[in-house]
Symmetry: C2
Subunit: 501 residues, 2 copies
Amino acid sequence: MANFQKLTPRSEDYSKWYNELVVKADLAEQSAVRGCMVIKPYGYAIWEKIQAELDYRFKQTGHVNAYFPLLIPKSFFSKEAEHIEGFAKESAVVTHHRLMKDPNGKGIVVDPDSKLEEELIIRPTSETIIWSTYKNWISSYRDLPILCNQWANVMRWEMRTRLFLRTAEFLWQEGHTAHATKEEAIEEAEKMLNVYAEFAENVMALPVVKGTKSPNERFAGALETYCIEAMMQDGKALQAGTSHFLGQNFAKSFDVQFLSKENKYEYVWATSWGVSTRLMGALIMTHSDDNGLVLPPHLAPIQVVIVPIFKKQEDLNQLLPVLQPLYDKLAAKGIRVKMDTSDKQTPGFKFADYELRGVPVRLAMGARDLANSTIEIARRDTLEKQTLPIEGIDEYIATLLEQIQKNVYQKALNYRLENTREVNSYDEFKEEIKKGGFLLCHWDGTKETEEKIKEETKATIRCIPFADNIIAKEHINVFEEGKCMVTGKPSKQRVIFAIAY
Amino acid sequence: MANFQKLTPRSEDYSKWYNELVVKADLAEQSAVRGCMVIKPYGYAIWEKIQAELDYRFKQTGHVNAYFPLLIPKSFFSKEAEHIEGFAKESAVVTHHRLMKDPNGKGIVVDPDSKLEEELIIRPTSETIIWSTYKNWISSYRDLPILCNQWANVMRWEMRTRLFLRTAEFLWQEGHTAHATKEEAIEEAEKMLNVYAEFAENVMALPVVKGTKSPNERFAGALETYCIEAMMQDGKALQAGTSHFLGQNFAKSFDVQFLSKENKYEYVWATSWGVSTRLMGALIMTHSDDNGLVLPPHLAPIQVVIVPIFKKQEDLNQLLPVLQPLYDKLAAKGIRVKMDTSDKQTPGFKFADYELRGVPVRLAMGARDLANSTIEIARRDTLEKQTLPIEGIDEYIATLLEQIQKNVYQKALNYRLENTREVNSYDEFKEEIKKGGFLLCHWDGTKETEEKIKEETKATIRCIPFADNIIAKEHINVFEEGKCMVTGKPSKQRVIFAIAY
């Protein structure tokens, strides 16, 4: 049951607001295991919607699902040098396979005789185990492409964790594809970036900038990492999804070659791409307010809640002959609607609870409305209320849900555009970065400059944006040439710097 | 790509037939990690259908999904005495959280400084971590019932593994519910058994016997285990799903009490219930034949395949104006249909491939059929072929799919009934059990007798059947009283003995 002590306002402590909201809206909570979360039923219902929408898009673009082992032999993991470098420090290691009674009578202990010959790592990502499998699946160009996706749990032993944003265990999907040519692999990596962006914008109402990562921020083992970056309400950046062009790195590490049409052995080209329960964090931090969660209708487990206002059962009995047909009409339109006739809570409690949970539209009807043939409609996004004739209200609500979807997107986009600024000198940068937001700057393309900036300001390059998306207000020319704000060396375009989650 | 070396016939080596079929039909394969399988895309597509059908039924009966941690602290795991006894010997144990470069230059090793204070067990089942969580969710009768399900991977370090049937890692769902009264918990456990049975029979076409387990075969920590048992084509039994009434055992171990309506603190009553990727094994072994997989239409990823017979593109171009409208009509009826216009394989190769993969209906059309306005229809279950006028064929196929669904069920049920026999003396039992099948016998209800029989014959009590299901042919009276075949002591009803997977 929700707890109605008020949320800490965002303006007071954004981080505390987030932590409280996640727990109070019944989305997730810390478990007894360090860094691992419990995703509660309401939070999981949103994740199921995210999964269904993405899975549909993956299948529409020709992908199939499969399942690969949770555990990866340590030796596999070490085969790709950058990859092991990237994940070694956060690996959960299985070393034994049996427990026994303590011979000294002190409960249950690990049986030392059950030590594994080779340690197994709980997957932090599955490139290695999958490419060791693909070796058996691929011999000729006829076996290509392979377009597999996996829905799975993964584990990265993070030292500092936060619900949804950074947890030791998280849920995700990971696509792993194998191609005959470099061009086809790059096309795939770009295609999936576009699938993610379309999903983020149309379903999650999350405006994102598409682009590539700088070499420092690339996935461990990738030649190119494509990303979608979003801005949270505190001006920080959040990486919402990545798609990697892996070149032939994993094919070479696991010796995966194919006989080409020209009868020559060649290494296979690879991509991988993933989004995770981190998206739940992005969803919450982009739209929600001091009253609680704000959900875009396309993701809301309950889109419309109907709350009859009554004290006695007979009052309810008078309302239901009007409300039940409305419920049926909305349900028939495919709207996810709930009728709350419980007498355990007051209407005021229910209103606050549905507000906290982000239900997009709330309908309320009492005796006076009944007499007037009207109904009260409250929008969660704007908190506006209006009373309208009940006649034709189902059509109005169907339209309203789409309006709300657009409005929460537009609001988030406006916020991002207002907080995306052009910066031309490093001195200015050091001041501006303290205010948050995306800073569009010229950079000389070197690791050294990027590292210097990170060290001195904590800001990183979030994204080298593509031309085919909305990045900033029109007066900022992102794609003109210029000079690096730190070194003065030439730069082909502005890149996005920000402090990131 | 499928491999058309013929399968070993079932009559020659049933076990070998199964192992070959799983791999050749592209369902699953062994991974590089001992006992862990890769579920290949075709196998996973069937599992997704199983998931969707079950998930729908769980939600219809008021359950919600959630997600709990993969790792369980060793101390939690030890709190319920029988539970730890049941799972200790097959526990994968995480002891460290970091890898490092070997200081002696020998690759990557486990960092000894990253040893965990308390070892973590990869969940073999989640009662303990879930009940430690429910403690925070439950304080009053108003918080009950809790009706959660989880879709997850689990791990049991089995020494002898077989694809789908017994693997170290497997996928499953586990329901965990909490109730205010004993009666309500028992009702829930029984309800979910009925959900499983209805699903098994109507979707998987898998005839099952519903009943309870004997004390020896109960889940570790349960007061009662309900089960559905199926018979495979080699006469062995396979446990297809279980539902447990856990009493207050886990509530007591984790101190989960609630304030009742009468204002008294009471321990919460629990159930858990699960089915796993083992169902894939049951599906394969129940219906398939020496030509490959036979899928019931309700689970088939492809229900109907259309194979145009052509050599040149122009032949195909003549067929498509007839076949494409047929494809569209079938798809419009919600039938999962595939048109195979590939020119990479011969029609003969395609026929054998779809047969191996168990596609229920295959349609083929060549030049002669086109001239005659006919089409060839092949049923996978009976291997019958017939040529029919193409006019009205879409209606015919919709009906045929339901006929096939019923036929594969009836065939499996007939097999089971023919191999379910009454046995009245232990001498007869020792002979009959060698022939396989279900043996209906009187038993005195003691562990000692059950263990003696198991030791001497390897047979176990699979199920103490309920009266409300088809158990045997009518002449066998299961519910008359009698005397135990071993000890001569009184027995209230016959129970099912069999050799089990």
